[in-house]
Subunit: 257 residues, 2 copies
DNA sequence: CTGCGAATTTGATTGAGATCAATTTTCCGC
DNA sequence: GCGGAAAATTGATCTCAATCAAATTCGCAG
């Protein structure tokens, strides 16, 4: 990868896939790595895309060989259960990883499909494992990212009312939007209502009605997939229990046994 | 750690905490390590317990400094939300890890309490990170275990009816029991109904009624916390969507885009 | 611009599981 | 063994969100 580029075109291609030049480097795996370590990471990464909306990146049961980092666009991951029902596990926006759950059994445990035109970095797992081993900072970062996924997933599995879940979901998107340097108030939802509903274990109609109600109550302005948060404080009060990255780690008050 | 033992007592103490001598080594972190690597792992591990029922191992908001492997007994992990409601995240039986979700923010994200008299191995994280770095097989095993947790947690977050959830829960316990070399049919539940209910997002009364119904239908014989699975096949049909370790990775049939 | 299918919204009704309310059983400490 | 408290069960009722059923709006190919 450090061989002389044969033309300008190659240069540009290289730059595009470079972690060091990537605007997402502080959200993604490279976070905390120095330039040398990032270079080593780059050596195993390659780019893929654009993937068209509706096209799959991987499918449940496929042999697991890579994890993926979203560069642009958005993915959803989902399962289909034995009765043919679809369950949306999560949404992945730029800077986020997908496919981590396939490591264990060596097969992908879910399907990943593009919601929009999407490009990703492909991280072939066997080579990534080697680099993780060589770069301690990367090891730390991988463990952190997986740990964060674990918290997020555990939160989702908890029991809350429909409004708490939707409020928490929107708050979560807001935080993720903010981390990417976008507005925490203006969201452009990459997924249809049906997918939000499935993800939150609700009916599509319920999600629609909740959006309507939140709007009536002055929490949001909703126009199709464009959402503006008008009353962040109330939304937070509603959704906090559902939110992941509430900073400190969630200690609210000590409680005796 | 390889210095001459000063007495027999020390020998026994050492043996007790030794990964190499541990009956759980094939379920836990040491899986796949050779004797030398296990010895290195041992050098960072220490034992703790017994922890009495109701006593906490760690609490949400505590500074994260270790993960824990259950040796005997059982733990539950839970959160308390902003409205004081308890949410049971999971149960941990011998050979399983707890506390992995604290890595990311550096604070524990949940509370862990003993359900029975419980002893654990303490794995101080900073030292564990070093050993992971030195022992490639351990790195692989840690990634696998975290990946498995991720799948398990994602499964829990999916939408299923009350009977599917309870059936899946029991199946899951059955598999875990089997992995430990115990009977997959005879379960001794370490937790009260209330905790099962919270974990499955159900009311205690609903869990009780479901146990009664499953018994009527000949699926189970239930006597308080002792459960015998009488009709594994039907239970599997009900609960499969909810179960984690269904071997192959869950690919049922390919589905066109 | 027009029309068609998909997505979304809105309304009416139903139902699974929660909640409220008693018992009954079990578990322990004394 | 006895008494009391916690756990579990059982029954009656209620409620939130699902389902069923249209109506609207939107996106887009022709």
């Amino acid at each position: 990868m450090s061989s002389k580029p044969t033309s300008n075109v190659v240069d540009i291609a290289h730059l595009r896939k470079s972690c060091r030049a990537c605007s997402l480097r502080d959200l993604c795996l490279p976070l905390g790595l120095d330039s040398d370590d990032m270079e080593r990471l780059e050596s195993v990464v390659h780019s893929r895309g654009p993937i068209r909306p509706g096209e799959h990146l991987f499918r449940e049961g496929d042999t697991f060989h890579a994890i993926y980092a979203v560069k642009t666009g958005a993915l959803k991951t989902y399962n289909v259960d034995s009765q043919g029902r679809e369950h949306v596990l999560g949404f992945h926006i730029p800077g986020e990883l997908a496919g981590l759950d396939g490591i264990y059994p060596g097969k992908n445990r879910c399907n990943a499909v593009a919601l929009q035109a999407t490009s990703v970095c492909v991280l072939p797992f066997s080579r990534l494992e080697e680099v993780i081993h060589e770069v301690p900072g990367l090891q730390t970062q991988v463990l952190r990212l997986m740990s964060r996924e674990l918290s997020a997933s555990a939160q989702l599995a908890t029991d809350h009312s429909a409004d708490e879940r939707l409020a928490g979901f929107l708050l979560n998107l807001s935080r993720r939007s903010e981390r990417r340097g976008l507005s925490p108030r203006r969201l452009s939802l990459p997924m249809p209502r049906r997918d939000i509903a499935s993800h939150l274990r609700l009916a599509t109609e319920t999600v629609s009605r909740l959006f309507a109600r939140f709007q009536e109550e002055g929490l949001l302005t909703v126009r199709r997939r464009d959402v503006e948060i008008m009353d962040m404080e109330t939304l937070e009060r509603l959704g906090t229990a559902y939110d992941i990255d509430n900073g400190a780690g969630g200690a609210r008050r000590p409680q005796s046994t």
